[in-house]
Every structure is written in structure tokens, then in C-alpha cells.
Symmetry: C2
Subunit: 564 residues, 2 copies
């Protein structure tokens, strides 16, 4: 069922100009799909649990890596094809350009090729809702942020009914390929669909494109997911502005929580761009088994140290997922989930929060009860009262930055009594997340996503299925990037999710032995006491290349480049 | 006492480039102060309370307006002068450029002229803390955000001791003029100092420069205060990104509170730039004597209306000062302040919040007690518990956007029961303020502040005291701007502050009969139901002039220009 596209948009001046920007295509793709040949590498293995992953993906396991090389390949241009594209999961800057690159790659191979966008995420495939992406429709969306062209959704195509419906609709619409733009979960799902179609003997390729602002979908072949560059630049603009405010007003501590629940890459990258006084990295907290009390103590010590130097101000970055990285908090939350479930009947008879709290405290192991008592009143109540539809504590609702401020305030008051602190502590908190998911893509992300989309078209035309679109050597200029495909199964391992063993693409966390974290570790003591704030300012789309084309410190460091 | 300047700064690429940007000076100033002559207009009157203002400012009242015209004026170049500058109040983008323009104007007149920056706001004058602003020191701060070159502060120079200390220090440092960069209060204070010095027979000019991101320091002669342009562009970038996210995800309502406590100009301007679904304007709430309940009802009706059209999403802008514009809330807060003070002894004996609340409710008039009962629990407690050092309720701590969401949720639940609403309401809240105070000044603000500073130098060299630096015709190109000075007393009236009659510069609120508000009134019904979001993107410093040189819709509308 085709749906009429009703997007209205009053364009801003910047948008009008960005729509005309022509992304730089890697040289290998510039002549079009008919001049590119896949070069196949050796058969691949999954990063872990090979036997199990192979059992689940008998038809898509072990595929060879693909690198595109120059060569006549007119076969791909002969028959007109129909390709579907779907955006899955949270927004990331550049999604529209993936679609633009895909469209241009397909049209370049054969002007009769057609692209269709499934609406509202994977459910659009199951429910057969789509719109044809014509060049005219695409025009106003090139190089823009957001996913509003076809929207997104979080449905996974997993049940037999969903898989069958998807297959039937893809066949009914005479699709030759499906491109799934998503994060680790969505690309795992892309592989499930690819496997299912092969198993059913259906000749429709499924290709993934790596998207997530969180930066946790990456490995040796996928150097970064798209959106990370733009989002971290937007957050860094804001954090930099706050650093400058701090350095001007000299009277506040700003505690800034940044999006990124499973990994702390965003926080790390923003720290490189701005040099705040303290940076919490979830992966370090976990590795060092730090307690909440230790984190609070460390920050209170830093605040006291700076106060001694007359500096009652500073900036602290906190990753969204911090709470879940603290081992004892994880234990507490898990114990609370059990305890709340086990004692539901009794709790429901109690009228006051105080009564409930006393009861729950009596049920917890002493260590966890102490931890619960150490939490600010509001947070402790929230942990008991705000529960999701499954009855679980809603960790994502915890405003970690406020929790830290309250606990630090208490700690500093103790230190003051003991004569160990004699400053003023006034704190302001922030959370930045939604502000960065739909920004106008940076030049890097505009080029990268366009290349990823164009490259996905080439993979589709070559009937590669179960692959992730891969554009590499990203610290070089865009024309020198390498292109190809990586088998999705190669990145998988088996993890326990909701009590079941599941094959999933392994999340890339911040590696404590990796160059990015080592760079932080080397510099953070200096940033803590000196005020070496950097003010990056807003993303620029015009002007000197050293401003517009900058990529992330994370990528530079990971690829062994020197950074200041 | 001179203080060594120890600013360290690791410059970002953008900063490095912006430092080299040469602002466009109005043509009249381009040849330098020696080629500009003041043309004096007629004697002026204060906007209100003329007799009282004249009584308080006998020496600075009634001065003529000044317009600068071409003409040889070599007298200003003869004797080397020493000028002090101070930044007062909250940060606003462009403060550094005021200092840069001032420095360049002074040096152009006579290279031996010297500029000194008093440190940490007006207290730097009283405590005699300053640094010489040399061209070398200025270099890295040109066209940058923040006030970190000399910082700012909120001290007012009001007591006899403070005024005397300021006078003594200005004399000891052989100052010829003092330039005060600040908002309405700081410029009122500048006039107090100007008057005091004249009255003491001290020949030191005092000149003000209009600064505040809030946009509430303006009138016919002062078309806008600096910083408003940049700050609203930064907030609009973020609000636009959220609009795009809303339009992509289509599942959340975002409630965004924007800085601006006394006036709603920022909210209005950001609405023009982004077209959100609902915009609250404090001045309208006051004029229509709206109750909190009505505001909540209106928003709930809108949410229900959109839900009927399948749109369970939207964006609402809320000005920071909303609560204080709602007449009944003002009454409640005032009654609470009295009641808490009158019953302090009894309240201190009570142990629980519930007990205190019941007691306070029994003391309030029935209407206000009902209002108090209608507030979410957390807010009601906050109103009773969080009090400032004077014992007053801390209105500024109220997170109005969360208050609205909670009350709307309750209202929608009632409507659902009554069969009048059948949607989903998931809300996310934001507050943007500190993010915009120290951004890199827009091209408009960079030019405007540089001109204001340069123009202040010309006023100082012409020994004009009690004037505000005035640069006009701001919707024209920068080279066509007009320059001059406006007597500070002209903008004053008498207001009751902390129980005393005080002369103050009249705050410019959003006028319901003004063009900007009328533009909102004309368009908001359409924005409410259709999704006509605009995504302005980040401030650009390079590229097409229609992007870089855009000024505010507020200014265009106020000057009778057509806008879309």
C-alpha cells in the first residue's frame, strides 16, 4: 500500500543551502556501480560463540568480506531493480543522506531502478506502508537532519508472523533488496531477515547501514557509526558554551549528563573537544568496581581542591548510563526488582512512602540497605515507585546529574564540619540528548552517510545479502575512503537478553586500553585543576576545511593519529 | 592595583578563525573619532515620573540626544586619555567585542590612549582591581563569547562608601571615563555613578552599553540589547533540532523552558524561528489574567485535538518567568511568604511536610488554598521548603515545564475518563539558558558590539557623561548604521523595589499591541495543528550573507519589515 507523502516544511535559509550541497563520493564509487567490482576476501567467523552463531545463521554465516575495486560490471545495470529502505531505532544525523546516496547509486546504475521507503520503521514492512522515494521528493531532504522523510520505529521483525508478513510484502512489491539503517539491534534484526529469506529460498538481499549517535556500533571494519560525529559536535558546542560561562561567572559547578546509555563514547569525545574538569566514564567505573560513594568522594575532593585555589566552579561530564555501570547500584536495582515483585501484595496495603521504604529496607541485604539509605530521598522514592510496565525500576528516569549533586552537597557539608572544605558549592544541572539526534549533519556525516547509502546500492546491485555497508579509512579525505561490505554475522556473539540466549552484534564499549581512553587518562589531571577549557562553537558548513571537515578525536586516536 | 592577566586558553579552530574576523564598522565611524562630531538634539525628558527622576539626577537629567555626524574634531585626539571598562551582570555574547571596539576607537584617536578593564564586575572598581587591555591581550578575545577576559559581577555601586571608593579609585588611576556594559539595572547604576561624580565635581564621564540576552532593555532609540541575537539563534538551533526529532519520532511532547524571567522576548523570537505547536507568553497571561488551571486546560485541549488527528506529539515553549506572570500564582507566593514568616515558630515545631502543608493550607484564603492543593505534590513542597536567605519562596527554582507536564497529565487522565481524550501523552522537558549566554557572537552581534564599543569611545572622547551608547537602524547593513548617545535618564521611571521608590530604566516587556506579538497571534493557530516546524540549524560565520547576516524577526517586525 503506497501512502501519499504529505511532508510540509518551511525551509530555513541554512536548510535551503544545504539541500544543494553535493557530498564528496569516494573515488571508487564516482563512476557508478557499473564500474565497480566486489573483491571477496576469505570466509569470516563471528567474533565469539562461532558454533552457536553458525547454527542460528546457517545461510549467512561465514560470508567473505567484500572490498570494492575498479572494474567493468555492466551486469548490475541491465535489469531494473526495486529496493526498499527502512530507518530503524533512534534518529541520527545523516539518515536522509543514506537514502539520498542509495537513490543516486540506484539511478546511476539504471534510471529505471526504483527506491521505496517503508514508513515508520520496520513495522512499515510488516504493515506494507511505503512511499516511493523519487528524486523530486528527495530534493528537500538532502543533507538535512531528522528521519522525517519516512520516520523510524523500534519494532523488531522477529516472530514467525512478522517474518512471513515481511517476506510476503517484499515479494508482493517485487523488491530485489531491502536496506536496513539502524544500530546494533536493528542490524542484528537485518541479519535475521536476511537469513530467513535465504532459508525460504527468496532471492531478496538484505543490507545493513551502521547508525547510532552513541558510537557503540563499531569494530575494525566499521570505523564509526553515522551520527556520532554530528551529535558530539552539537553537545560539544553546548558544553563549550557552558565552560566559557563557568570561566566568566566563576561561581557555579555545572553537572552535564550526556546521552549514551550502554557506552560512554559520547562523553569521552565531548571531553576531548572541551576539556572539562571531571569526566566520568562508565566503563572505568565498572572495571574498577567503583561504588557510588567513591565517585561522590572523588568529586567532592576535586571540588575541595579547586576551592582551595579559589575556584568554586567547574564542569563535570556524566554519561547517561553511569548508574548501570556501578556494580553495587546494579545489584541494588536487581534486588529491588525482585523484592518489589515478591512483596507486591503486602506493599499494596501500605499507604505511605515511608512505610514502604522501611519495609523494603528490611528485606534488602544489609549492604544494599545501607546504599539505599545513602541515596537522596527523592531518588530512593523514585526507585521504589516509578516502575515500567514489566514492574521494573526505571533506571533511565534517574537524573544521575542531580543525584550526584545532592550527594556531593551532603558530603561537602560533612567535610566543612571537619574543617576539610571551605568553599561555596552552587550547582546547575543539564541533560543533553534529544538536542543532538536530529541536527543538520556535519560535512563528515553528510559525506559518510551519502557514501554508505551509495555503497549499499552497489552491494544490493551485486546481490550481496547479510552484509553491512562499510566505508573505511575515514580519517583520510572523503575521495580516498575505501568501500565494501562486512558480513553481519562476523560481528555477532551470543548474549543473554530477557532471560534468553540471543545472537547479537557485540556492542563496542570504551576500551580502557584503547588510545581514546588513554588520552583522557593522560590529560584529565591537568584539566581538573587548570582551566584549559576549549570552546568549539557550532558546526560550520561553509568556510575553511580545517573547521568544516574536522572529524572526531575518537577516530583520530583509534587510527593512531596524533592529537593535541 | 593592577592584576596580572593569567588567562590560558586552548583555542578551537573556529575561535582561531573568528579572532581574525574584522567587524564592519558603521561608515560614520570608519575614519576614526577625529572625524566625527556630536550633533545635539533637544533636551530630553524621562519616560515617566519626570519630576522625581529630575530630583534624583539634577546633573544628568534632561541632556540632549546625540547623533554623530561627519566633521573634523581633532580636539579629541590631542590629549592622551585613560578609560576604564567594566562588565556587569549576566554574560551575553559580544561583551569582548565591546571592549575590542572601545580599544580600537581609543587607539585610533591617539595611540597613547589607554584602556583598563576592571575585574569581576563593578566590585573591581570599588576594590581597585584591574588589568590594562593592550592590543596583544585583546587579540585572542576578539569575536569570542564569554566575559572571561575580565569577568563580570553583580555588585551595585550604591552606598556612600561604595560610591566614594569608586570615585577615589577612578581618580587615583587618573581615569577620564568609565564604560559600564550591562542590563537595565547596571545602566541605572551607571547613571547613579555619573550623577555622583558630577555632583562631586569630578570630571570623569560615565557611559553605558546596552547588554542582555533577555532583550528587555530597548526602546525607540536603543533598538536591541546585544546578545539577544546570538542567544536566540542558539536556543532556536536546539528547539529546531527537537522539532525535527518530534517530527521524526512522532511520539513525544517536548516542553521547553527558555531563559528570560522578566520578559518573554526570547520565547517569542525562538517561536518565530521554529514554529512550535504552542507558545506561552508571560505578558499575555498577565494581561488576560489567566489562571494556572486555564493554561493547563488550553494545553490539554490542544493535545487532545492533535491526538484526534493521530498526532501524539508536539513542542511547547515556556518562558522562564511564566509563574510570576500568573496573577493567582503571584498572590499565592506572596501569601506564602507572609504566612511562612508569621508562623515560623509554630512551623518549626512540626516534623513532617504533610503537617506543615495542612497547617499552611488552613491559614491561606480559600481560593489560594485550592490553588495550592491543585499543584503537584513536589512543587507544593518546594514552595514551602526551598526559601532564599530572606525567607522568600524561591520562584526561580520552580521547574515550570515539569509543573505543566504533571498538571496536564492529571487533566488528560480526567478527560480520558470522560471520553474526551483518547491519545498517548509521553513528555520530555528541557531548560535552555546557560547554553546561550556565552556562545560565539553571531556576525550581527559581533558587528553590533564592536560598533557599540567604538561608539562608546567616541562618546568618552567627547566627554559625554550619563549616556548610553546607541547604534541604530539595525535592520540595515552594518555600514549604514547610525551612531550616537541617548541620555540614561531619558529611559527612567520610578518603581517600587524592595519596598523603596527607586529610579530605574524601564524594562521593555512584550507589547501585546506590538508587531512581534501580533505576528505570533496571527500564526499560532496554524502552527498548533499543522506541523510547520522550521529547523534553523547552528549559527554560521562563513558562507552566504543571507545565512550569516540574518538578524532577529523581532527587530524586523518592530521596524515594520515584512517577514514570512
Amino acid at each position: 500500500m503506497s501512502t501519499k507523502h504529505t511532508a510540509k516544511c518551511e525551509c530555513s535559509q541554512l536548510q535551503r543551502h544545504r539541500c544543494k550541497f553535493q557530498p564528496v563520493l569516494p573515488a571508487i564509487l564516482q563512476k557508478g556501480p557499473a564500474f565497480v567490482k566486489p573483491k571477496f576476501g576469505k570466509a569470516t567467523k563471528s567474533v565469539a560463540d562461532q558454533a552457536a552463531v553458525k547454527r542460528i545463521f546457517p545461510n549467512t554465516y561465514g560470508l567473505p568480506e567484500i572490498t570494492f575495486v575498479k572494474g567493468a560490471n555492466s551486469a548490475v545495470a541491465k535489469k531494473a531493480v526495486r529496493v526498499g529502505v527502512v530507518l530503524s531505532g533512534g534518529q541520527a544525523p545523516g539518515g536522509h543522506n543514506v537514502i539520498g546516496g542509495l537513490l543516486d547509486g540506484l539511478k546511476k546504475a539504471n534510471p529505471k531502478n526504483k527506491l521505496f521507503g517503508f514508513l515508520g520503521g520496520p513495522s512499515g514492512i510488516v504493515e506494507n506502508k511505503w512511499v516511493e522515494i523519487t528524486p523530486a521528493l528527495m530534493k528537500d531532504y538532502r543533507n538535512t537532519g531528522g528521519f522525517d522523510l519516512i520516520q523510524s520505529g523500534r519494532t523488531k521483525i522477529e516472530t514467525d508472523e512478522q517474518l512471513k508478513a515481511a517476506k510476503d510484502n517484499l515479494i508482493a512489491n517485487k523488491m530485489d533488496a531491502l536496506v536496513v539503517v539502524g544500530g546494533d539491534d536493528s542490524n542484528t534484526n537485518a541479519c535475521v531477515i536476511a537469513e530467513y529469506l535465504k532459508q525460504q529460498g527468496v532471492d531478496i538481499s538484505v543490507i545493513g547501514v551502521p547508525k547510532t549517535i552513541d558510537g557503540d556500533l563499531k569494530n575494525k571494519q566499521i570505523e564509526t557509526s553515522f551520527g556520532f560525529d554530528t551529535a558530539t559536535k552539537i553537545y560539544a558546542e553546548l558544553v563549550g558554551n557552558i565552560c566559557r560561562d563557568v570561566n566568566s561567572a566563576r561561581k557555579y559547578w555545572h553537572f552535564i549528563r550526556l546521552m549514551g546509555r550502554s557506552a560512554s563514547h559520547i562523553t569521552l569525545e565531548v571531553a576531548f573537544k572541551t576539556h572539562p574538569n571531571a569526566v566520568l566514564i562508565g566503563e572505568e567505573v565498572l572495571a574498577k568496581k567503583m561504588t557510588l560513594g567513591q565517585i561522590v568522594d572523588n568529586l567532592a575532593q576535586l571540588i575541595a581542591k579547586r576551592a582551595k585555589a579559589g575556584k568554586n566552579y567547574g564542569v563535570v561530564l556524566v554519561p547517561e548510563g553511569l548508574i548501570e555501570f556501578i556494580p553495587e547500584m546494579k545489584e541494588l536495582i536487581s534486588a529491588l526488582n525482585d523484592s518489589l515483585a515478591d512483596n507486591e501484595a503486602e506493599l499494596s496495603k501500605m499507604n505511605t512512602v515511608a512505610e514502604k521504604k522501611a519495609f523494603i529496607l528490611s528485606k534488602l541485604p544489609a549492604k544494599l540497605a545501607d546504599l539505599m539509605r545513602s541515596l537522596p530521598e527523592g531518588i530512593a522514592s523514585q526507585l521504589m515507585l516509578d516502575r515500567d510496565p514489566h514492574g521494573n525500576v526505571q533506571v533511565s528516569l534517574i537524573e544521575t546529574e542531580k543525584l550526584l549533586v545532592e550527594m556531593i552537597r551532603t558530603k561537602l557539608a560533612e567535610m566543612k564540619k571537619a574543617g576539610k572544605y571551605n568553599g561555596k558549592f552552587a550547582a546547575i544541572t543539564h541533560f543533553f540528548g534529544y538536542e543532538g539526534r536530529c541536527g543538520v549533519p556535519s560535512t563528515f556525516d553528510a559525506n559518510y552517510t551519502y557514501a554508505l547509502g551509495y555503497n549499499a546500492a552497489v552491494l544490493a546491485l551485486n546481490k550481496c545479502s547479510g552484509y553491512l555497508s562499510s566505508v573505511r579509512k575515514l580519517t583520510k579525505k572523503a575521495q580516498d575512503w575505501e568501500c565494501g561490505g562486512i558480513p553481519l554475522t562476523m560481528m555477532m556473539n551470543i548474549e543473554r537478553r530477557k532471560g534468553k540466549e540471543k545472537p547479537v552484534i557485540k556492542k563496542a564499549l570504551v576500551e580502557l586500553k584503547g588510545e581514546p581512553f588513554k588520552h583522557l587518562a593522560k590529560n584529565r589531571d591537568l584539566w581538573a585543576v587548570e582551566d584549559l577549557y576549549v570552546f568549539p562553537g557550532p558546526i560550520q558548513y561553509f568556510g575553511p576545511a580545517e573547521i568544516t571537515d574536522m572529524t572526531t578525536y575518537t577516530l583520530l586516536l583509534e587510527q593512531g593519529k596524533k592529537v593535541k
